[in-house]
Symmetry: C2
Subunit: 339 residues, 2 copies
Amino acid sequence: MNDVKRPVTLDDISKRAKVSKMTVSRVLTGKGQVAPKTREKINKIIDELGYQPNLLARSLSSQKTSIIGVVLNKREHMFMFDYTTKVLSGIMDVAIENDYQLMLCPISADKDTSGEYEKLARSRMLDGVILLKRKEGDPHISELIDLNFPFVMLNYKKFSEDISFVDSENFHGAQIAVEHLYGKGHRKIAFVRGRIGETNSNDRYLGYQGALSDLGLEFREEWVINGDFNQEKAYSECSKLLDLDDMPTAIFCADDNMALGVMRRLQEQGLKIPEDMAVVGFDDIQFGTISTPTLTTVRQPIYEIGRRGMEVLLHLINSNEPKATHELLPVELVKREST
Amino acid sequence: MNDVKRPVTLDDISKRAKVSKMTVSRVLTGKGQVAPKTREKINKIIDELGYQPNLLARSLSSQKTSIIGVVLNKREHMFMFDYTTKVLSGIMDVAIENDYQLMLCPISADKDTSGEYEKLARSRMLDGVILLKRKEGDPHISELIDLNFPFVMLNYKKFSEDISFVDSENFHGAQIAVEHLYGKGHRKIAFVRGRIGETNSNDRYLGYQGALSDLGLEFREEWVINGDFNQEKAYSECSKLLDLDDMPTAIFCADDNMALGVMRRLQEQGLKIPEDMAVVGFDDIQFGTISTPTLTTVRQPIYEIGRRGMEVLLHLINSNEPKATHELLPVELVKREST
DNA sequence: TTGAAAGCGCTAACAA
DNA sequence: TTGTTAGCGCTTTCAA
C-alpha cells in the first residue's frame, strides 16, 4: 500500500487558525469578505502546512470540476499526429490560462458508441467536452444535447442552434486552390476527395466544383477519385487518373497526406512535378515543407481552431444564457514547389 | 446556467429497489456478495433509469480516482509531435484496457517548477503520474518521492530504488549505429550530441565513444558537435564539420530531427548522401521514411515505452509492496538510403 | 465579517 | 446476504 501521509485538510487549517472552515474556504477561493488580518493569519498557516485543496471534495461540493474532456478518435489519432498535436496545443494553452485541466477521452470513430457521450456527461467529472473531427451527423451528439451538456465540435460544421463548432473555411480554401492552379495555366484539374461523411471533406469538394464552375472549367466525373483521407488509398487510386486518355494537368487533393501519396505515385510513374503535373494539398502539415518537391497547400489554422474551440466552450460553460457559436476561421494559400 | 436535469443517484435506485444503497453499490462495483435475484432486480432498475455513477463522489469516498496524470513539457511537446503521439498511444491503450483515465498535465521544462509535482500529488485527483522526457536529475522529483506518490519516468534513466523508469537501450543503440557505419567502411565518424542534461543524450554519447574504442577508431573532439536535439541547431553547427581539414566520412546524430537538419546542410553544400557522407539518426520518426534520401536510424520502441510505462505505474499503484522497476527496451537498426 | 449546519453521492467497516 | 453508520473534504445556505 502506498500510504501517503495524511494530507492537510481545511479542518487542520481552521483549527490551527481558530476560525471556522468557512473562513478558510473564503480565503482560498477568494469569494466573500474576510478581514485582512484574518486573511493574513490564515495564509501564513496555509503556507506553513503546505496545504493543497482536495479537488475531488471541492468539485463534489461545488458541482464544478474545471476539467474539460477532449474526445478524440480512438485509433485514428495515431495517423493524424500533426493535427492532434496542434489542436491539443491550442486547447491546452487556453486551458492553462483559465485554470482548467484536460482529460483525454478516446472514443471509437467507427464502432457503435451509443451511450459513450452520455457516460462522459453523467460521470460528473467534466464541465464540458471538445469533440475532434467527428463524423458528419454523428447520431450520438443528441445525447449531449438532451442532457444540455456543454460541448464544442472542432473541424466539424453543422449550422444547428444546438451545436457549437469551430472549423476552417473549407469551401473557400478549395476555391483558392483551384484558382491558383487556374492562374498557373491549368484548365484540367482533378480532385482527390477525402473521407465521405466528414463535413470538411464535403465542403472541399463543393468548393472545388464551385470554383470550376465560376472559372468556366469543365467538371468531369473521371477526374474525381476517392482518397478517403488516406495516403495509401490516394497513392493507389491515383493510377486511375494516369490511365485516362485525357489526363488532367493538375491535381488538387483534399488533404496533404493524400497529396503526398499522389506525388509519390506520380514520381514513380516518371512524371515531373510540377512540370508534368501540378499538385496542391490542404492542411499544411510539416511533411509538406520537407517533401520533394515541397507542397503547395491551403493552410488551416489548426492551433487557432483549438484555441477558439476552448474559448467557445468556456463561454458556454460560464455564461448565463449560452448560445451556440458557429465559427469558420480563414485559410490561406501557401505556395511552394509543387505548382 | 446549464441546468442539466438532476441526475439519478444511488439513492434513487435503492429506494426504487427497496434495498439499501450498499446493496446497489455492491452490484455496481462487483465487490461483495449479492443474491442473484436482488442483483437482477437492481440491474434492471439501473438500466431503466439510465443510472451512471458520480465518479467524483465515488473517488472522494474510495480515495481512488482511476485517473493518471501525464506530465509533458509545456511548450516543447509541439516540436516532438511524433514522440508525443506515439507514447500517448501506448499509455492510452493500457489505460483503456484497465479502465483508467488520462489527464494531461503540462509543466514547463525550463522555468522553476518547484511545487508543481507536489500540487499534482496533493490534489487527490490522480492515482499516479507518468513523466515524459524530464531533464536529468530533475530536483523536484523528490517531491513525489517524499510524498510516496506513485510515478514512472519515461525516456529517463536513473538507477535509484526510489525511481521507476522505462527507457530504451540508448547506449547499445549508439553502438550498433557506429558498428554499422564501420561495416560500411567508415573510419572517421562524427557525432552530433543531443541536449546536454538529458540522460538519453548522454547515454548515446557514451555508446558512441564506447564503440569507437571497441573498434579501435580514433575519437576526436572536433568531430563532436552539439545539436541540442534541435534541427536548426544541428543544421548550423554542421558547418563546423565541413570546415575541417580532416573531414569525417560519416555522421551519427543523436536523433532523427538533427539528422534531417544535417542532411539538409550537407545537400546544400553539394555533398551526396551516402556517397560523400553517410548519415545515421536515432528514433525512427516518420520524416525519416520519406526524406531524400531516406534515413538509416536506430529505432526506439516509443509506443512500447508508453505501454510498459503505464503497466509499471499500475503495478506500483495496485501492488501491496511496490518496488521500483527499471526497464530498458531493445532498439533496432533500420537500414535505409542514407548509409 | 464570521460561523453552524447540512449536504454533495458514494464506499468502508462493521453489524445483523 | 443485507443493512447501518460514519465519514471522504469541501462549499452552500442561512443565521449571527
